[in-house]
């Protein structure tokens, strides 16, 4: 089996049982089957010949996918139970296997393969392909992100997602992108836990404040895919009456893992990497600041800020984060905001005095970047607005 046409014939012959079934059960007409064979033969020759491209494989796979879809539609319409249900996807998998073997360096083809396996719900194939792709392209962050994202979204498997991210961060040390995404994933996890506890009414702190509000809560009661739970089913005083052993009685929110130790650890190991600079630290800060639901957010932000002030004491980014820190987690319309803004204002003054002359323009730019979006909002208090405007003028 040396020549192209020999090989093509070999692969074409393997599809004969499927075609025979098409003819026997009258799923497709004879003319249609003939055209399939012709088309397949064309694709096989193209794919097996010298100088075939990854796109050729992708086109072949797409054609097979479409044929399979058509077969499914016909079968369901004609109420035919097909024996070779799996032959179609199996052929497509085989095409992708051959394609990725011939062009192992082509990341687009790998991604096509992964997407096909995922949509086809071929978990084993998906995992095998993913392992191969990751082994061949360990420094491509996209594959690690893809792996982590789908093991989290599809399986809800945080441990697997974490292990992918940790392996990825070992390889991707050229820049901070994957590191930031990993820290973000951990923050999402913490935010989800916070949300879950809120729905179950487990948070004693929130309980008093949000007692009436939760009942008329719009986001979750109306949401179709959330079962509305009575919020007071598990009150802390009720829990207290039940006799349980010491370990179980401990509040899990006191453990370091749920108090932001993991994002901080990620940040700490990122600081030791060669890519680390003020810009990266600021990116971490900005990313963390988005997660206002996380209870330990202020601790995490304080930790980032402390390390920035240690390493880059005189930098514009450090001062920008330092100024922003009091207000960054608060909503503009909340009652704590004005006093936090007062702290921020004094910090801005301090920053303006101590930043180097060279960085003054950069600091002004950074300040404008966070103040202007707040000013653009309609619902802010007039007093707050005046103070923010003054702050902008002073920083110039």
């Amino acid at each position: 089996m040396a020549g192209v046409s020999d090989k093509a014939r070999f692969y074409l012959e393997r599809s004969v049982p499927q075609l025979q079934e098409f003819a026997e059960k009258k799923i497709f007409a004879a003319a249609e089957i003939k055209s399939f064979v012709k088309k397949r033969s064309e694709f096989e020759h193209k794919v097996l010949a010298r100088g075939s491209t990854p796109i050729d494989f992708a086109q072949y796979a797409a054609w097979e996918t479409n044929l399979e879809r058509l077969r499914q539609k016909r079968c369901s319409r004609l109420r035919i139970k097909s024996d070779s249900r799996y032959a179609g996807p199996a052929r497509t998998f085989q095409i992708y296997d051959r394609g990725t073997q011939k062009h192992p360096g082509d990341v687009g083809l790998w991604m096509s393969y992964l997407e096909f396996a995922r949509k086809e719900k071929g978990t084993k194939k998906w995992e095998a392909a993913l392992t191969q792709a990751l082994r061949l392209h360990p420094t491509k962050e996209d594959f690690w992100l893809y792996a982590a994202r789908w093991s989290l979204e599809r399986d809800g498997d945080m441990a697997a997602a974490r292990s992918y991210m940790q392996r990825g961060t070992r390889f991707c040390t050229r820049n901070a992108r994957l590191w930031i995404e990993y820290a973000k994933m951990e923050m999402i996890y913490l935010a989800k836990i916070a949300l879950r506890r809120k729905i179950l009414g487990l948070d004693p702190v929130e309980e008093e404040v949000a007692e009436e509000e939760v009942e008329e809560e719009d986001g979750f009661a109306t949401s179709q895919d959330v079962i509305s739970l009575k919020t007071h089913t598990l009150r802390s005083e009720m829990v207290a009456k039940v006799q349980v052993d010491g370990e179980a009685k401990k509040d899990p929110m006191d453990t370091p893992a749920l108090n932001g130790a993991i994002p901080m650890a990620i940040y700490d190991s990122a600081t030791k990497q060669s890519f680390f600079c003020t810009a990266v630290a600021e990116q971490f800060f900005d990313m963390f600041a988005l997660f206002t639901q996380v209870r330990s957010l202020s601790r995490i932000l304080q930790h980032v800020l402390d390390s920035m002030r240690d390493m880059y004491a005189k930098d514009a980014s450090t001062f920008s984060c330092y100024t922003r820190w009091p207000v960054v987690t608060l909503d503009v319309t909340s009652s704590e905001f004005p006093m936090a803004l007062a702290t921020s204002l004094s910090r801005a003054k301090e920053a303006r005095e101590s930043v180097s002359v060279r960085d003054r323009a950069a600091l002004a730019k950074k300040t404008r970047a966070w103040v202007e979006p707040i000013l653009a909002r309609e619902d802010i208090d007039p007093g707050v607005r005046t103070v923010l405007e003054v702050m902008l003028q002073r920083i110039e």
Partner: protein
């Protein structure tokens, strides 16, 4: 400027007033749950500007390779470029001009080889320099001597410190390499001797050898 109109105390007062107003307003929405909707539910799909994507277009109803991938970058570039039509006569003239030119400023404008019979002999000699001295070995070259496209002949002028080491005496100096080699041969006659050696070895056992043998025999008989 307006910024200078407010003192720090005034600003603080403004903020205090604002706080009072905001506390008075009964909040209808819970901030945390509201912002939850805006929470990015997932990590980013890609961290780079140019993400790795599947060739199959996810948006189209049928499985289809994204048409953007069907034409390669190079093909697209070529297609987008204006086609240049050239006058063949002008091209010929231009080519001739280029041929006359030197090796370029990067090569100190080395001129094209002016192949005189002397230079040709010299180049042949250089190619066969391996036979000149049995003690000296050179890297192999191809069997056909190649004539360089650009070349120039020059004379090395020795420095004053090299009077005894790096100098040819006036007697030994000739115009070309070939003449120098001929002169050396005249003095040493190495090749002539070598020729004799080979000849005597080759002719041994033939006519001349037999004659010498006969002469010897007759000599013996006489004696």
């Amino acid at each position: 400027m307006a910024g200078q109109d407010y003192s720090d105390d005034q600003l603080l007062q403004l903020l205090k007033d604002a706080e009072g107003r905001l506390i008075a307003v009964k909040k209808t929405k819970d901030v945390t749950t509201q912002s939850l909707a805006s929470l990015q539910n997932s990590i980013n799909k890609s961290s780079t500007e140019k993400p790795i994507t599947s060739y199959i277009n996810p948006l189209s109803k049928i499985a289809q390779v994204d048409p953007a991938y069907l034409v390669t970058e190079e093909q697209r570039k070529q297609a987008n470029r204006a086609r240049v039509v050239q006058d063949p006569v002008a091209v010929k003239i231009n080519d001739a001009k280029i041929k006359v030119a030197t090796a370029g400023s990067q090569w100190y404008n080395l001129p094209r080889t002016n192949l005189t019979p002397e230079l040709k002999r010299d180049l042949q000699l250089l190619h066969m320099r391996g036979v000149l001295d049995p003690k000296r070995h050179y890297k192999k070259e191809g069997s056909k001597p190649k004539i360089p496209e650009f070349s120039q002949v020059g004379t090395i002028i020795e420095g004053p410190t090299e009077f005894f080491s790096g100098r040819l005496s006036n007697k030994d100096r000739k115009r070309t390499f070939v003449e120098e080699v001929m002169n050396t041969e005249k003095m040493s006659s190495r090749f002539k001797n070598k020729y004799g050696e080979i000849q005597s070895a080759k002719t041994s056992g033939k006519k001349a050898h037999y004659k010498a043998l006969k002469a010897k025999r007759s000599g013996v008989l006489k004696g």
